[in-house]
Symmetry: C2
Subunit: 339 residues, 2 copies
């Protein structure tokens, strides 16, 4: 077996392609794309301009894919599932735009963020446009079940974002607090999306709940993998600078774990290097070495693999074998993707 690049053990190193995973939902995915485009139809020209930019820079469409697969796993990818996928993507995109603005990020997946391609004002207001569009779709279509799930998820996301800036630069952040933040800011929307998809596809309450747990575990694994990019990724590949998260004061699992494992004197030196941001002056490789040598990378990879395995277990509840496989690939994608 070849050595895995980002994720450990059980999975092949190569991430499955999103196109392949989407195979069984090609038709509803096309409907989703059309409906998503419609959300940007607005007589304010700026909305279309930002929409065109988003289409290029923000478009992995991983979450809507989960929604549609969850629906197809139990029945049809109904209109409710398609619109649910649109709403989940709109909420996610709104969050990304506001995040990039808060983090002053200039690049996302190698392309300029909304705040850098346009400006901060546009980023703030466009995020609000997308949030409110999402709820307006839910209301217009009387999707009350989805509204239940997504109002709660959206509110938890905003709490997670606030918690994150409250914990900024806190080098004593514990693993439990970290897990809570990523649960809120990433996992709860994926969980709500999968549950909503299962509901739209006709799943009974028990199976619906199982898909919610599936989405939660995938979301946690997805975010831990994302946080590993800060220490492992090559800039050309992930499309943003390494060390960006830490530079912005985000203390994530690889570092939390390494700080816990390192001998006191090394830990103190590293804390100084981080506090002073001295790592920006050619010392970033010291941080990467510290995090790697003290097991932070391996531990994070294990944690994400464990969560991925837990997600896969929930798939026993999905009757359609083809969809089960596609969802398994989606889990693999979450932990082996390169950006």
């Amino acid at each position: 077996m070849t050595a895995p690049r980002h994720a450990p053990g059980a999975f092949p190193a190569e991430a499955p392609s999103l196109e392949a995973i989407r195979g069984p939902i090609a038709e509803p995915f096309e409907r989703f794309q059309e409906e998503l485009d419609r959300a940007f139809l607005c007589d304010v020209g700026l909305v279309g301009a930002v929409g065109a930019h988003l289409h290029r820079a923000y478009g992995k469409r991983y979450r809507p894919m989960l929604v549609l697969l969850a629906a197809r796993g139990f029945g049809e990818a109904t209109d409710e599932a398609v619109h649910g996928a649109v709403v989940v993507e709109l909420i996610h995109t709104a969050t990304l735009i506001h995040d990039d603005s808060v983090d002053k990020s200039l690049l996302r997946r190698g392309l300029p963020t909304v705040n850098s391609a346009f400006n901060n004002d546009t980023a703030i207001l466009m995020g609000d446009y997308l949030y409110s569009k999402a709820f307006s779709i839910l209301v217009t279509r009387k999707m009350y079940e989805a509204m239940d799930l997504l109002a709660e998820a959206t509110h938890r996301m905003s709490q997670g974002e606030l918690r994150q800036i409250e914990q900024k630069n806190r080098l004593d952040l514990g693993e439990a607090e970290y897990m809570r933040i990523i649960e809120e800011k990433t996992a709860c929307l994926m969980s709500a999306g999968c549950e909503l998809g299962a509901h739209a596809g006709g799943a009974d309450p028990a199976r619906r709940a199982a898909l919610g747990r599936f989405g939660r575990a995938v979301g946690l694994a997805f975010q831990i993998t994302d946080d590993l990019f800060d220490y492992l990724g090559a800039e050309q590949v992930i499309g943003k600078a390494m060390g960006n998260d830490l530079d912005g004061g985000k203390i994530t699992l690889p570092l939390i774990n390494a700080l816990r494992n390192a001998p006191a004197s090394e830990r103190r030196d590293m804390e100084d290097l981080i506090r002073t941001r001295d790592f920006r002056n050619g010392h970033w490789s010291d941080v990467v070495r510290f995090v790697t040598v003290h097991g932070g990378v391996a531990y994070s990879q294990e944690r994400s693999a464990l969560l991925a395995a837990r997600a896969e277990e929930e798939l026993d509840h999905v009757p359609d074998a083809g969809i089960r496989e596609a969802l398994q690939s989606a889990v693999r994608y979450a932990v082996t993707r390169e950006r």
Copy 2:
């Protein structure tokens, strides 16, 4: 009759006090305050800290007052009305916080804005927290009627905000475009709030619609009055610098009208003064004089008085005489307040 200070003709110069207007809804207003405070209960410390600040700096509570009066005009200020008032205030506050952040305003009503007292990141995320809290309350309480009204209003507000930054610095902005922006960014939430209040109080559809039209007219009059402050207010009174709106590129009714009336050469000179921002160098009084001499102030006052009168006409639909009077005072407040 003494000369009116901000508003013309029919109204007395003195604005009624909010406390007096709230007289008939003292009890539900207290319940509203309690419920509003509960919206800031959160284990993220930052939420409480910003909440305490908002309480001081953002708290006119004009919109929830309208919601509760609208309900009491037809029956009781029910729980639905109280929670509707909370949700309207949360949405309004979220918009203010994001607006202040977009406009880089440092003061609101004489106190630091969230972006200046905390920072821009907190302003963005706290706005999101309040938006999502609002929808979460509506969902939890199954207030589907209110959700219908407010999802649409919130989305139109975000469109208005985007339209406003798209039209920034456009000295050829027409009155119709201006009216459309203030309809979206201010009037539609007041309209939705009044309609929702009337609905919660048990009004039939025709009366409910009348209260919606009332709220719209009040909202337009309220915003025109607000825009006049930029040209008329004294800094100590309105709590922000004069000329702030224009400096931020907001072209509002007083200027639009004066530019239309002025002879071509004077107009061109004024356009240059504005384009170059030369008015910041001791020439602000020239702008005020231009806007006044060419009738922009008087015209805006007339427009807002006309809208106030139109709002009052809709009050014929309100059976309770005491509440009708309170709502009349609320209209007078909208056009005669000093900040």
